[in-house]
């Protein structure tokens, strides 16, 4: 740490810079609302006329003035002590007045930079940079907030330095006009990236209502509403929390799919989405651990799929799995798979992929035997697997059918399992566990001898690379 401090106190010519002055407000706008609310709560017996007349006027104005001054002083100090610096090797972020924190990230270890815009920041045209650093798993370095154009410019500069180039604009990266000049380019560059998939809003909303949990939620809420209108009083106590829980789930899905675009970048893929808060997220292809393509029950009739991945180093995400396509057709799935998993280990990739996301045993897939029918009557025809030269493809699931793709060199461990009903029918299952999320490869209810043979062959494949 002492070495880092020495570095952080500045041996380099690069100057320290401050974040945008509005940043504390974006971090702490809730405090202002809170103060207003407290005031409101304590004076709600007064009318507006009473608040602003006579001696009370003076108290109101003085109170508001003092509160404003205190808030502004804290905001100023918070802003004053938050500084960042970009050198040729590191990014430093210092913050805090009483409890100082100094964080740094090595630029050559930076895997990707996300740009996030919470709602208030977005209204003010600000953005936050989140550095995804390879060697630190516990905390993500955040730099918040910069003007959106500056954030994009800084991102380009750092990514270029991470690749070992020294761009012309970065020579004087301290000055604002350099940032302004660079600001025009990344916008153009972002537009030039080949677009892999986007999600029209109508399709997004349609896809959300065509999921069974959502339909059940809507039906349950409607039923409770009808009961309430019919005069059952107590039901409102259940309706409100149910509607809130369901609403937040729905909003999260809407937010993750709103304005969704996925584009190819030179290191992998970049996705951006967001309704109120916008996120731009880059996914280096080499960090994808496992991919799952899901087709919920009603989507199958429309040929829609959802693609999720397990990735390392995005611990800032609340979800375990990262959604790289909220809803899309087979063409989009094929394009995205082409980037994230360019080598499927077979000659006829497209045909194998088409079989993997549908049903059938062409192209070498091995399915569940018919004696699995009593154990999973809805799914046994769909369950199948294929081990290619690079990847294990497995299909499972009943209502929401899933296909998961796990590269051999990403498998952390395997487990073979056999329940009491499977023992009598000579069936067994194999799970392939990966890091970075909860997508697994699952060979469900396949022939016991095939399972034993597969797991013995797979142990050899795991140690080959």
């Amino acid at each position: 740490m002492s070495q880092a401090e020495e570095l952080a106190t500045g041996d380099s010519a690069e100057p320290w810079q401050r974040v945008h002055p509005a940043s504390p407000f974006v971090h702490g706008w809730l405090a202002i609302i809170g103060l207003g609310y407290i005031y409101w709560q304590n004076t709600d017996d007064l009318s507006w006329a009473e608040r602003f007349s006579g001696t009370r006027l003076m108290w109101t104005v003085a109170g508001a003035g003092i509160a404003l001054a205190v808030v502004l002083i804290f905001y100023f100090l918070s802003w004053y002590f938050t500084r960042y610096k970009l050198t040729s090797t590191h990014v430093y972020v210092n913050s805090g007045m009483l409890f100082r924190s100094q964080k740094q990230a090595r630029i050559d270890k930076v895997q990707g930079i996300d740009i996030a815009q919470p709602l208030v920041a977005r209204l003010l045209g600000l953005a936050e940079l989140r550095f995804d650093v390879a060697d630190s798993s516990e905390s993500v370095l955040r730099l918040s907030f910069l003007r959106k154009a500056d954030a994009h410019a800084l991102r380009v500069v750092i990514l270029e330095r991470a690749r070992g180039e020294e761009p012309a604009a970065a020579q004087e990266s301290g000055s604002h006009d350099a940032a302004d000049r660079a600001a025009a380019q990344p916008q153009a560059a972002a537009d030039a990236l080949p677009l892999m998939a986007n999600v029209p809003i109508g399709r997004l909303i349609g896809s959300m209502f065509l999921q069974l949990p959502v339909m059940f939620g809507v039906l349950a809420c409607l039923a409770m509403l009808v009961l309430w209108l019919a005069g059952v009083d107590g039901i409102i106590a259940a309706l409100v929390p149910a509607a809130l829980a369901f609403g937040s789930f729905y909003y999260k899905q809407l937010n993750q799919g709103w304005n969704f675009t996925a584009s190819a970048s030179d290191t992998g893929m970049r996705i951006s989405y967001g309704l109120a808060d916008t996120r731009q997220h880059s996914i280096p292809a080499g960090r994808v651990q496992a991919i799952s393509v899901t087709a919920p029950f009603f989507w199958r009739m429309l040929g829609w799929y959802k693609v999720e991945v397990n990735v390392l180093g995005t611990k800032s995400d609340d979800a375990d799995n990262l959604q790289v396509l909220p809803v899309g057709d087979f063409e989009s799935v094929a394009r995205i798979m082409g980037i994230l998993l360019p080598d499927l280990g077979v000659a006829n990739q497209r045909e194998v992929l088409a079989t993997a996301v549908s049903t059938g045993c062409e192209h070498g897939f091995t399915g569940s035997p018919e004696r699995a029918k009593p154990l999973s009557p809805g799914a046994w025809k769909h369950q199948a697997f294929l081990a290619t030269g690079t990847t294990v493809i497995s299909r499972y699931g009943w209502l929401a059918r899933q296909a998961s793709f796990v590269p051999h060199n990403r498998v952390q461990g395997m487990s073979w399992g056999q329940g009491p009903w499977e023992q009598g029918r000579k069936l067994a299952g194999v799970r392939l566990h990966c890091a970075g999320g909860n997508i697994i490869g699952y060979l469900h209810q396949i022939d016991a001898d095939t399972a034993a043979e597969f797991i013995r062959a797979q142990t050899r494949r795991l140690v080959e690379r």
């Binding site: 952390q412 461990g413 487990s415 073979w416 056999q418 990966c434 034993a452 797991i455 795991l462 140690v463």
Partner: protein, 165 residues
């Protein structure tokens, strides 16, 4: 009869016999507590609170109905435990009704833990946990004699360093 598992059970190093005693003691403590809770209505009835007979009997019968079958299979469960060290990977098996074998290649190993609780220490046993980057891919070895546990840990760490990818 049951079908074959990928690796034959007779190659595996089984858990120490004393591990069954640990399991018996755990069983006695856990179900003893449940039985005490189930006896509350009976105590109340004795002290004169009017409680119907079925409410006195049913919790006790329920606890016994779950606890006694659990007691019967402890020996078989302990006998089903085992581990197998191979050239490139480590295999752990467990389960009688739900049989399971977990395979972890040495190259994917991240760290090895050896733990022993007070009960296990009394019989000179320990348990070993093998962790990888994936939280689900974890192998537990139960009922190892302490000396063997330390030796196994050394061997695993050495193999992990050698096979590190």
């Amino acid at each position: 009869m049951a079908t074959a598992t990928p690796w034959s059970p007779n190659n595996f190093t089984p858990a120490h016999r004393d591990y069954a005693k640990v399991k018996f003691t755990t069983w006695a403590i856990t179900w003893g507590l449940f039985l005490l809770a189930a006896l509350v209505p009976a105590v109340l009835a004795v002290t004169g609170v009017g409680i119907p007979l079925w409410l006195v009997l049913s919790p006790v019968l329920l606890v016994l109905a779950i606890a006694l079958p659990a007691l019967r299979i402890i020996r078989r469960q302990v006998a089903a435990l085992g581990y197998l060290e191979r050239e490139e990977d480590f295999i752990v098996r467990s389960g009688v009704m739900w049989r399971k074998q977990v395979v972890i290649p040495y190259g994917r190993m991240q760290y090895v833990e050896v733990n022993s609780g007070p009960l296990e220490r009394r019989y000179g046993l320990c348990q070993l946990t093998l962790n990888t980057a994936g939280s689900a891919a974890t192998a537990h070895v139960y009922g190892l004699p302490e000396r063997e546990g330390q030796a196994l840990r050394e061997r695993l760490v050495a193999a992990g360093e050698e096979k590190m990818l």
